[in-house]
């Protein structure tokens, strides 16, 4: 009974972590940007869906779509207003750009979270679930929405895999992550690849955010922890490696769930963080990292 609870609960949480981290690692893999406003974009999507449902009274489906849309728009805004001007600036030295972008996205995230807190207070918001009720899985009463969350997460990850590995545009993205100069020589406009990747990232962030809002709920306080958890999953899995992130998401998700059930919910995050420290010592490039 307990084992089934851990398996089912851990699977849903891990799927959510996986989806959140996939976008984060994709952006890093392709454009070398560590987007520290990741958590803020997710929270923006959740709050948008919450506002649509709570304030405007639209249905849970429309609210969720609006949330995803806001995640998408915010992602492109982040790219065009924050990341791209720094990437193209001639005033910043090439080797310093990475740290500039890191700082800029961090500040951008703080601005978004403060704005959300100012407009909608820092109370936690939850998005109206699309599927209500509970189902029995192996004797465990599971919220139907938890099953829905897992299914959507894996569906989206599957679609992303198809997009990257089976389409021409996806292959260009993959190539750009391996050798940006080579791609340019082949006549592919690199900046369009970047825009495309940020657009895909926006969809992922929006979907992950809205699902998180339905499953667990977030507040403007969650911005930091959300970025941190995506960051640690991605570092654990190996920066830039999508499959590494997926494995790491499940390692972290199950480790947390097992701790919560078997030790105490109060220590939930500690073993995963310890594992991260150990991996840093033993294998600094992460589980499947390339660099």
């Amino acid at each position: 009974m307990l084992i089934w609870q851990i398996l089912i609960d851990g699977f849903a949480v891990s799927a959510l972590y996986a989806l959140g981290a996939t976008g984060f690692t994709l952006i890093f893999g392709v454009s070398g940007v560590l987007n520290l406003s990741h958590g803020a974009l997710m929270v923006a999507a959740v709050v948008a869906a919450w506002v649509a449902g709570g304030e405007w009274g639209v249905s849970s489906h429309l609210g969720a779509i609006f949330g995803v849309l806001v995640g998408f728009v915010m992602s492109l805004l982040t790219y065009f207003a924050v990341v791209r001007p720094l990437q193209q600036s001639s005033k910043i030295r090439e080797e310093e750009k990475e740290i500039f972008i890191l700082t800029a996205t961090l500040l951008w995230g703080i601005m978004i979270s403060e704005l959300i807190a100012y407009l909608y207070t820092n109370n936690a918001k939850t998005v109206l679930p699309i599927v209500e009720g509970v189902v029995m899985l192996a004797g465990v009463r599971t919220p139907a929405n938890e099953v829905f969350t897992s299914v959507i997460c894996w569906l989206v990850i599957g679609l992303l895999w198809l997009l990257v590995n089976r389409t021409r545009a996806g292959k260009a993205v993959l190539a750009a992550s391996m050798n940006p100069r080579g791609v340019t020589l082949l006549g592919v406009e690199l900046s369009w690849i970047y825009v495309g990747v940020w657009a895909v990232y926006g969809m992922l962030v929006g979907i992950a955010g809205v699902l998180l809002g339905m499953f667990l709920g977030v507040s403007s306080y969650s911005v930091g922890p959300l970025t941190a958890s995506a960051f640690s999953i991605v570092v654990l899995g190996g920066l830039g490696s999508v499959s590494g992130s997926l494995i790491a998401a499940y390692v972290v998700g199950y480790l947390e769930t097992m701790t919560a059930y078997l030790v105490s919910p109060a220590y939930r995050t500690i073993p995963a963080l310890l594992l991260l420290v150990i991996v840093m010592y033993v294998r600094p490039r992460g589980l499947l990292g390339r660099r």
Binding site: Q5, G54, T121, N123, T126, E256, P265, R268
Partner: protein, 423 residues
């Protein structure tokens, strides 16, 4: 007539006008200086503007100040509220407190609903000899510190209930509503790990068995917990009749997941955010059936002052006050009452006067415990002073169920709750 003549002709008039204007101005400055000799009574309010609970504090205080000023102030002195945002950070609150006292020369401070913040401010109230009243922090340690070192800590007053007395009120309500009416026998305590819950849980452990509820398990979780599934599953496995809560900073998650997971056990206890009128919307209605302790409720006439305050708050700010909105409103009134009685804003004389407070506010009759008690400067609790309430969210409304004299509804649970399933 040439243009230059006009100018010349106009010159004396202009001079006269200037002289007259200067005279008027001088007179105005004079009267302003006179008004300034009637220095306003300044009250600093330190709280978090972005938190629903915190944001009600300056608003409630402002309503009280405006009412006092409209009826002539204190012997012609106006009451002025100066607000500071501390983002619920102890460091920022201490800076705000120093600035309030040293630069803005406030006469008293109303500060925060977070026990950790108030504990950080307590020594500063002593060092700067400035009265500080918290409208919402509950940890017993705040007032225990006064008992330990009265001379230094006497400037602090707790304008809200201590955790221990809150726990006792919860037990009293649980006995009437659950043990006597529904024949419940067992409970699990579920509370967040924070300064205010340590004394709360300690009292729960003793008063629940006294009320007739055997404590089967006691779960403390980190306030930043997001996934409550394991916690609820663990609770369900020991099959209690009721979950007794101690939650405040953790937010909406436990309530939302209790509903989405359809945990068949009712929740009763302290759920600070449930006292906010926005909680229904924040949880998308998941709070239906949640029972929570409070000292006031939107439609509960605790005293003749309660409903008119709520109406004024709603008229001015468009929403209902959180629990510390009520207390902040009361604090301004009894601070001013104490200043009147002391005939001074001097810190020490204000402490003496506040200790003799006997003020009927929005939450009941306010009197402080004496300095020879274990919790000096905490509110007296019980019938005749502050009785406390037990409210339940029903259909988007906060309905009071206990004490029965001021009840305006009947206990009702959502369909997934199975009362008495453990028998």
């Amino acid at each position: 007539m040439k243009l230059s003549d006009v100018r010349c002709a106009g010159a004396p008039i202009l001079t006269a006008a200037l002289v007259a204007g200067a005279a008027v101005l001088a007179a105005m400055i004079g009267s302003a200086a006179q008004a300034q000799t009637k220095e306003p009574i300044r009250i600093g309010v330190i709280s978090e503007a972005q938190a629903v609970a915190g944001s009600s504090i300056p608003l409630g205080a402002q309503i009280a100040a405006d009412e006092i000023n409209a009826s002539g102030g204190v012997d012609g002195r106006k009451v002025e509220i100066i607000s500071y945002d501390d983002h619920s950070s102890s460091a920022e609150a201490v800076r705000a407190f120093q600035r309030a006292v040293n630069e803005d020369h406030v006469h008293a401070v109303i500060a925060s609903y977070v026990s950790e913040v108030v504990l950080a401010l307590e020594p500063w109230a002593g060092r700067l000899k400035t009265v500080m009243v918290t409208p919402g922090a509950a940890s017993d340690v705040i007032t225990q510190n006064i008992a330990k070192d009265y001379e230094h800590n006497k400037y602090t007053f707790d304008g809200y209930l201590t955790s221990t007395s809150i726990a006792q009120l919860v037990c009293d309500a649980a006995k009437d509503l659950l043990v006597d009416d529904l024949k419940m026998r067992t409970a699990v305590i579920m509370s967040e790990d924070a300064a205010w819950t340590t004394p709360l849980d300690a009292r729960y452990e003793t008063c629940l068995p006294e009320a007739g509820l055997k404590v089967l398990d006691h779960i403390r979780f980190s306030p930043d917990t997001t996934d409550f599934t394991p916690i609820f599953n663990k609770i369900e496995s020991v099959k209690p009749d009721v979950i007794i809560t101690g939650i405040s900073h953790v937010g909406t998650q436990p309530t939302v997941q209790w509903k989405s997971q359809q945990v068949p056990i009712p929740m009763l206890g302290v759920s600070s955010q449930a006292s906010n009128s926005t909680f229904w919307k924040d949880t998308n209605g998941a709070t239906e059936g949640v029972l929570y302790n409070a000292v006031s409720g939107p439609d509960v006439a605790v005293t003749p002052k309660t409903l008119s305050f709520v109406a004024e708050f709603q008229k001015r700010f468009g929403n209902l006050p959180s629990y510390c909105g009520y207390t902040a409103y009361d604090v301004v009134y009894y601070l001013i009452d104490a200043i009147r009685r002391a005939g001074s804003t001097d810190g020490d004389r204000l402490v003496d006067a506040l200790e003799k407070t006997d003020w009927v506010g929005t939450i009941g009759r306010v009197q402080f415990m004496g300095k020879d008690t274990p919790n000096p400067h905490s509110l007296k609790v019980g019938k005749g002073t502050i009785a406390g309430l037990m409210l339940q969210w029903q259909n988007g409304k906060q309905v009071n169920l206990w004490p029965r004299e001021v009840a305006n509804g009947k206990l009702r649970f959502p369909p997934f709750i199975k009362v008495g399933s453990a028998d």
